[in-house]
Symmetry: C2
């Protein structure tokens, strides 16, 4: 695929999104005629064939239909749910984390084959470069079996470190080629980071909602959590962070500025800069979860906390688990001033990361395959998220809201207030539908009626059925809780 | 290679060892005539060709020579050093571990290419099933790339778990097929075990000397160490353990009963049974380092603590790093009653172990290749250890002693009292010779004049030179420390 074709792919998706946005905003309703190819082409400054491609895609999805000699018409109303509301600003005293029972139950579905795998955040196999990476893995192990079977150095395979340093520099992060430390996935990077900057009893500032594995990690390390709100539209507000720093004795922060799991919120680059400055003023380390940054649907990659780091206080944690190969367990850290401590803990955790997996990913990067793959992956995730949005709109009860992410791979569904998402989780599990209930994403009860849905799986009949069944379950739970079923144009 | 040939291989090695033992004991001296083939064959109950094979091997090593029509004669005196003395029984109050600076320096040589790699304990590439495993790895990844690239379940790849459970049962350990948990090497198993049974500030009972990574692990986890002596001849004495339990508030034990690294001591099975009973009486968990058990030079595999466990208190930790592929980072645990806690910590450390490495080793085991490989590996390690013993005897100063292990892959050298092994470590490093100084194997100063030498590398001219240079360094250090050079029949 050459560069030109790839750019075209992006353009037709932009046109598609433009139409969907108009429908969402009510500018085009059921049965309405869409602008002609020529008109839209002129309005948007794209070629007629690009608009045509977008219309054909919308027709394929059943959203519009073409009528001979008349043009294209909306076949469905906007089926998308309204946006999630921001959680009210709240600040509770830091508390120990005690979610592990429920989290463990959810985690046990990792590696389980659900008919509708909406619970686990990992791109489905169809989105991974399965064949290429299998071929490369076989080749590197056969070409240099001694390197594959010998201990990798503690910081990691030299070629992989070099490749990651190179990519980091391309992303505007000032690193030297020796900075990265290879870890067994982003989870291990976060674990190493927290063990390097905290000890049991310390208080760690997190955003709420936050990835449940962070909470479990805090719990197993005996750390206390202080939560500040994560807004689906704006991510972390520096003013809230400043307030928390004034109020509590914070030892470290863990924040995911780009497509935070589960609310997919994006903290702006200017807010990032402000936050880094606030923390630098107090010498407080910040563990940055960078795992979803590569999954931007926007033209430009968002920035990182790390790129504003001047004091070595940011420990950036990332991995290839959401882009290439979850099962390889290869991630990395840019550890800033905590390098020595991180290496010491890595050495006493598992010495070094599995060598064949490191070599395979190093070679994949060295061959320059990553950017092309990421383009395809982002496009596919965005399309799957679009499709999911439409189906959610059809099947979920009135009063349901959902995030409209600009990257990542998950949707954060806000159910009507009387639906308990933990109960929904257990009901869904009975039907082999995996979801992640909101309760596990916070130490408090703010998200009892939220659900996180992963959009990483291909759209199948099973998945379609799964979403329908989930919607019916939520509707029944709402009704049996005594709420009046409300008439809705969405169903 | 069929079974008969393999058994023959073992027999001639036994004859070789018999001769060397007689030489060590002074029963055969320089220039002495060895028993005739027929006589020794009759005495030992082996075939004449077996004795002949042993004599030819000894001749090849330059230890004996054949004279036409006269028979075989000792060409060298016993070049082996006398056995290491037991460390005096001692018991210091438990203390925090603070070895990490020096240990880190030593650990940095992991993955470094030394001319004489005597510091790192891992079988050299020539001892690993490099080609077979590379072929199998390539095949499993290409045959099932989706499984290789997807998250493995937290406890591990199902087939690998099954294979390990099966082997454990064969070794007399009562497990169910679901018991094993796969880890990123034995180090991670030990780390998971300690985090599951201790918290910062607790006191852990260890043997002294002990593997330095345990000490570093204790230090990074904020644990205190109580040390009891490890005797090169008898391992851990249950009476010493009982005394420590009466004296200190011990939360858990970490012991390596089989070929303890570095003194290669073996704790007898009856002592194992006694120790398990002592700990069961007080409900104290025992973390068992099982990593070297497969490397027995004796006919029978030694037993484990785990096989006597009736209360689920033993957490057996092992791996394939010393037998198949250090760089794959695949180990396992039998976690006893601590399973749930271990899984929780594994999930928050790195979710699960690298899938392609697990699949490759599972397939290697499934194809039944392990036992044959282990036989070859044990034979090779024993031969290399023999060769090393001879060279040590030639080059090290009088007063040097060494262990005579019956398994494992390391020698534990006791230098004359005034030689500082840390200084020797730094001098050796200058010449690209890697060794492990005794000081890092204990929290105290008992082993300041000890050195651990790995016998996992093939015997090359570089290695031979390395041992000679080391011996010369030690001699010079002894002399410059003011000791009189003593005349010795060994040089």
């Amino acid at each position: 695929m050459d560069g030109g074709t790839e750019r075209e792919t992006y353009r037709y998706q932009e046109v598609e999104r433009h139409i969907m946005d108009m429908a969402d905003a009510g500018a085009i309703g059921l049965g309405d005629r869409l602008p002609s190819l020529r008109t839209l082409s002129g309005n948007l400054g794209v070629s007629i064939s690009t608009v045509n491609q977008a219309y054909m895609e919308l027709e394929r999805k059943g959203i519009i239909e073409s009528r001979p000699r008349s043009g294209f018409f909306m076949r469905q109303p906007s089926a998308r749910l309204p946006r999630t509301q921001s959680a009210p600003s709240h600040m509770d005293a830091p508390r120990p984390v005690t979610r592990s029972g429920l989290i463990q139950t959810v985690l046990e579905s990792v590696g389980r084959a659900d008919a509708a795998p909406l619970g686990v955040v990992a791109p489905g196999a169809h989105l991974l470069p399965i064949k290429e990476l299998a071929r490369i893995t076989a080749a590197v192990v056969r070409d240099d079996p001694v390197r594959a079977m010998s201990y990798a150095p503690i910081p990691g395979d030299a070629e992989l470190i070099r490749q990651i340093a190179f990519r980091s520099m391309e992303h505007g992060i000032p690193v030297t080629p020796d900075d990265p430390i290879i870890t067994a996935g982003c989870m291990e990077a976060l674990y190493l980071a927290l063990r390097s900057v905290c000890r049991a009893g310390d208080t760690v500032l997190i955003q709420s909602p936050t990835y449940y594995c962070f909470l479990q990690l805090l719990e197993t390390l005996g750390l206390r959590a202080a939560e500040i709100p994560s807004d689906p539209e704006g991510g972390v507000d520096p003013a809230e962070l400043a307030r928390a720093l004034r109020t509590y004795d914070i030892t470290a922060c863990v924040l995911a500025p780009n497509y935070n799991n589960p609310d997919s919120s994006l903290t702006s680059d200017s807010a990032k800069r402000e936050i880094v400055a606030l923390l630098a003023g107090r010498d407080i380390p910040l563990v940055e979860d960078d795992v979803s940054t590569d999954l931007h649907f926007t033209q430009n990659r968002p920035g990182t906390f790390k790129q504003f780091d001047r004091k070595g206080l940011i420990l950036l944690c990332s991995s290839f688990s959401k882009t290439i190969a979850p099962g390889y367990r290869v991630g990395w850290m840019l550890p800033g001033r905590f390098r020595q401590k991180v290496l010491e803990i890595k050495a006493t955790t598992n010495v070094s990361t599995s060598a064949p997996a490191q070599m395979a990913i190093a070679e994949y990067l060295r061959q320059g395959r990553m950017e092309r793959h990421l383009k395809r992956l982002r496009g596919a995730l965005e399309r799957q998220m679009d499709t999911m949005q439409l189906h959610l709109g059809r099947h979920f009860p009135a009063g349901t809201r959902v995030t409209h992410p600009t990257g990542g791979g998950v949707l954060w569904l806000q159910l009507p207030g009387d639906v308990d998402s933990v109960e929904l989780f257990f009901q869904a599990r009975e039907r082999s539908i995996g979801i992640a209930p909101g309760a596990i994403f916070s130490t408090g009860d703010t998200f009892a009626n939220y659900v996180r849905l992963s959009c990483g799986s291909p759209w199948t009949d099973e998945l379609s059925d799964g979403v329908r069944i989930l919607g019916e379950m939520a509707t029944r739970m709402m009704e049996s809780n005594g709420s009046q079923p409300r008439p809705t144009s969405l169903r």
